[in-house]
Amino acid sequence: MNEIFIAPFVSNEYMRLALLAGILVAVTCAIAGTFVVLRGLAFVGDALGHGVLPGIATALIFGISGIIGAAVGAVVMMGGVNLVSRRYKLSSDTAIGLLFVGMLALGVLITSSSPKFPEDLDHILFGESLAVKPTDLIWQSIALLIVGAIGVLARRPFLLMSVDDGLAQTSGFNVTFFQNLMMAMIGLTVIASFQSVGTLLVLGMLIAPAATGVLFARRISSMMLIASVIGCFASYVGLLISFHFELAASASIVLVAVSIFAVVAVATEVKRSRNLRHDELPHQHEHSHAH
């Protein structure tokens, strides 16, 4: 048992680093993801994941850190969405869709211009969990601290905005500012996570654990806690699957997280129908008496 569940981490430094990175990503994604799910911003998360691609690719061409490139990509993406939706009065969905495919296409063009890039493109899109360096952990820790601080400090306006923007505004909070802050928080989460799970799969870590928390928790703190635990567990199990079966680590982690959601969703449904049947029983009893 020890050989299966613990030894891979004890005897391999890259596995320990990957697990630590996975835990940091899981907690960061749990905080941002809970607000993403409550406010219905999954599409923005997805778009940001793709929108950072040209930034990272350009940074790699010039030998700059991919994190800086991703940050520039995220700013361009969200600035573009704001500009298109406000200037041309298009719905934010349309604006996000436009920028999303535009940035993705630009990213693919940049990466296809270099023979070295196919391998790099794989790493950008699907992450390199097993190649995490100690410096990556420092960046991820800083990102977690910032995302955590935003989550705590802006908790009230974020909660009001999850009900109705007008409610937040009439409660004295500047909705435009807090909407941009939420976008910055999601952007930072994507940037901090792409090394571990990749820009394509980061959405899985952002949405799946948080959506699972939302299935059976009714308080925001419980949702975040459950999402963190599920994300950490998915990282651990995903890395073990990857180690023992020689499968892609990031995809394994995300697949475990999504599978947990599926299992919990089915269990919740079964429990709900049992409760419903239980509630109906007294009526059936009365009915049989009437006959």
Partner: protein, 239 residues
């Protein structure tokens, strides 16, 4: 403290440069109920949003509690039309209602015993106490509306701006809303309510009939005359 709680003069409202209703003139005093009646798109919600500070006036002037709209969030509470998020929001009713205190607490204020007492009273007054521990998305439309109404009461405001507060409520729910409005008015709160339902206007001091313009304004027996109703809705009330 001004005797006028809301004052609008030659007010034109709308979205951006598009005027929905022009030349609105009215004033309200503490404890007064003003009911806005009209079909969809008549300008009721736009007027409430202007009074709450969400929409800028296009022209004319409007003051709320002596200042610009939106400048007194602790003293003005707004109930939006049934938010779509209600169907998916997993939060507890108790926590949704507690959000009504956020205008007072700001970003960092700590919830006091007084805040908790106000929350409890609001839950009890609206009957939301019965399902306070449930998730908002698991409730019926009427229960969700009671939750949002409880949240508005939790603000302890001097002006209530209510956008169709009786929508989705059964006869008991409607009675409850009328009772709550009467109680709020008794403690000096000005209530501005948008509705489709003419029966909501019976206790109003002032009724404003809207059809992308002010068709009529005045006490119910004046503002709801047959000729105005015909102009607004194309039908009259049965006598």
């Amino acid at each position: 403290m001004p005797t006028e709680t809301i004052s609008a003069s030659h007010l034109s409202i709308g979205f951006g440069k598009h005027t929905v209703v022009a030349n609105i003139d009215f004033t309200t005093t503490p404890g007064e109920l003003i009911v806005l009646i009209g079909t969809n798109g008549s300008g009721k919600s736009a007027l409430l949003k202007t009074l709450s500070g969400m929409l800028a006036p296009i022209s004319g002037s409007v003051t709320v509690l002596g200042g610009d709209p939106g400048k007194s969030p602790r003293r003005v509470a707004y109930l939006p039309q049934h938010p779509i998020s209600s169907h998916t929001l997993p939060l507890r009713v108790r926590d949704v209602v507690a959000m009504g205190r956020f205008a007072h607490l700001g970003l960092f204020g700590r919830e006091s015993n007084q805040d908790r007492k106000i929350l409890q009273t609001s839950l009890e007054r609206t009957g939301a106490i019965e399902f306070a521990e449930k998730s908002l998305r698991d409730l019926s439309g009427g229960q969700q509306q009671r939750t949002h109404l409880a949240q508005v009461l939790t603000r302890q405001a001097e002006i209530l701006l209510l956008d169709e507060p009786t929508a989705g409520l059964d006869i008991n729910g409607r009675k409850l809303v009328a009772e709550i409005i009467a109680n709020e008015r008794a403690r000096g709160v000005t209530v501005v309510m948008a509705t489709h339902d003419l029966s909501d206007a019976q206790d109003a001091a002032v009724v404003m009939l809207l059809a992308q313009r002010v068709v009529s304004i005045g006490p119910p027996d004046v503002a709801l005359r047959d000729e105005y109703l015909r102009e607004c809705f194309g039908f009259t009330q049965p006598h």
